[in-house]
């Protein structure tokens, strides 16, 4: 029997009060963005934000609780933009969105940082204190996407750069507190897939990170459907317990075809609610989408189906982000 788990890959919008307090404390310019050594006053604000995120998720009834990544000014490039071996360059476009992040220029060896582990420790304490039957989910960029978002001015070779980023992320994961699931966000696999023949470089890098944890690893892809060849490589080689598939953007039939043709990981993560639109899906609609997708697949059933938004949720106003959480949790209930 398939276990249905309502979860998100994190990166939530800041609550409106924190948008104001943090912009007052930090400023609006490029040089004011987070560098990883923020003042005590800023740390306190983010502690409050994190507590609010955990409450939001517990209130909504999610099964997995994300730290929420309120500190990630540069979206999924964050683990690099706060790193000592990285200088931040100009503001560059974040995928095909009206959003921007600082270009992380890697200028030195990517040694251990521990930045994300510290966030997760705080989140773990909040989840443990929440008394609900929910577990912690960690989020990191996948190594392929993180390499694609960064500029290499140190390693000099694309494959070596991906491998170095994978080693860096694996070291970070080893420092994480106990977590149930690790989401590795890999939108670049859809938007700028590896060249034919280079798929294994990407999947080896992902496997390096996946091997660093005992938790279930979800490789979440989004902004559309994966190419079929890359999909097959990911199923076989990435070390993922679940591939995350975007059922909102792009052509859903391509995704169904991939799963029918090439099989799937033992679990699947389905991007069911639109992380980039304020229209809130009905729980019944989401549940129908899950049943529809599962019915398309020849397999007997999955270990787990993760019910998730297709993308991060920071694109939304704060009220709609909360409604999306509730819709996912309610859909999991409908399916019980």
């Amino acid at each position: 029997m398939t276990e249905r788990v309502a979860a998100t890959p994190g990166l939530y919008p800041l609550p409106d009060w924190a948008k104001e307090t943090l912009s007052d404390l930090k400023g609006h310019q490029k040089g004011d963005l987070l560098s990883g050594d923020e003042s005590e006053a800023i740390v306190e604000q983010y502690d409050e934000v994190r507590a609010e995120y955990v409450d939001d998720q517990l209130d909504a009834g999610l099964d997995l609780i994300s730290e929420g990544q309120g500190r990630w000014d540069d979206m999924i490039a964050h683990p690099l933009t706060v790193h000592d071996g990285v200088e931040t360059g100009g503001i560059v476009r974040y995928y095909d969105n009206n959003n921007f992040y600082r270009d992380p220029r890697v200028v030195d060896d990517l040694g251990f940082s521990g930045d994300v582990a510290r966030e997760l420790e705080s989140a773990r304490d909040l989840v443990a204190g929440g008394a609900a039957d929910a577990s912690l989910a960690a989020t990191l960029p996948g190594p392929y996407s993180l390499a694609a978002l960064a500029t290499d001015e140190h390693y000099g070779d694309e494959a070596e750069f991906q491998a170095a980023i994978a080693e860096f992320l694996a070291d970070e994961v080893e420092a994480f507190p106990a977590h149930d699931t690790l989401f590795l966000l890999e939108p670049s696999l859809v938007t700028e897939p590896p060249a034919e023949g280079d798929e294994s470089t990407a999947t080896d890098a992902i496997a390096t990170v996946a091997d660093a944890t005992d938790a279930d690893v979800v490789v979440q892809t989004y902004y559309g459907a994966l190419g079929e060849k890359l999909y097959a490589h990911l199923v076989d080689e990435a070390g993922a317990d679940a591939l995350g598939l975007d059922l909102v953007a792009g052509d859903r039939d391509d995704t169904v075809y991939n799963v029918q043709e090439f099989g799937s990981t033992d679990s699947l993560s389905l991007g069911l609610v639109d992380g980039q639109n304020t229209l809130v899906e009905e729980a019944e609609t989401i549940a129908e989408r899950v049943e529809w997708f599962e019915s398309q697949i020849p397999a007997e059933g999955f270990d787990r189906t993760y019910l998730t938004p297709n993308t991060e949720l920071f694109y939304l106003p704060a009220n709609k982000y909360r409604e999306k959480l509730s819709a996912l949790a309610a859909a999991a209930e409908v399916l019980e």
Partner: protein, 357 residues
Amino acid sequence: MARNPSANREQFRPNDHPNDAFLLSTVVGSYPKPKWLNRADELVSDPDSKFDESDLAEAHDDACRLITHEHERSGLDTVVDGEMRRNEMVEFFADRIDGYEFNGPVKVWGHNYFDKPSVVEEVEYDEPWLVDEFEFTSNVAEKPVKVPITGPYTLGFWAFNEAYPSTEDLVYDLADLVNEEVEKLVEAGARYIQIDEPALATTPEDHAIVGEALERIVSGIDEEVRIGLHVCYGDYSRIYPEINDYPIDEFDVELCNGDFEQIPTFTDPEFEPDLALGVVDAHTAEIEPVEEIKANIRQGLRVVPPEKLTISPDCGLKLLPREIAYGKTENMVTAVREVEAEIDAGEIDLDNPLADD
């Protein structure tokens, strides 16, 4: 195809214009707000303050009068009120169009946010959006007034679409509303309309949607009305020569910021609408000297002859300190008049405008 810009350009030539050549000088629209106006905006939402909406309306009128006159003092041939009444280019219109709702700010980057609206039902025209502000400005102005309007592509794609099967459908409905507004503005006397479509620069592959939207906007609009299109910060090789097919009189573009590297893009095939060229940078806080601006104006002559060249800043100047914005505008007009005189005197080789005479 392009409209007929020669049918409407001469009406903007001032009676006392000193030269035979006429390079129409204008601005893109927004201008720094006087600090007291920002204070007034804050005061009106302060429950402890006696300053109310009617006081704010008076402050807006005062600011529009001030900036319109500031534009005239700089010598511009056509003026704008500096968009003193507008907060943000999508919000302002979404607030006036039925079908939009606001849910709160969303992140653009860092701690910069935008109150991105949602379209929750079919968009409809209610009250006029800009007719009052146009009538006010044209009453206080001696020069002709240009009206900038955020275009339907930007109003559609910079919102959440909850109601339409595709955002393209939403854009066409919005274009019909813009058409209605342009008709009302023309009725009120407006002769120079500028459609702002910055969103096109980020998704140039959608140029055909913008083209279809423009067809709807200009439907039934007489050729004595000048219709401009402003786009900024894009890769124009991806929308040229397609923009030659747009039903516009003038294409307004920022090229000073990129040091005019994209000028050759527009030289082949022949440029059909008039070119409104940005010759001062909207994002540097130094006032360009007149000589430098004159050299920039000559870049435009590589694309079109003088009778098809309009001169403006790259983009709205609202992010600059006010005295810098004024200095840029004033130097720009001085440069325009000097280049015109040099053209009259035969000192500029129009076949090779960058050459020293």
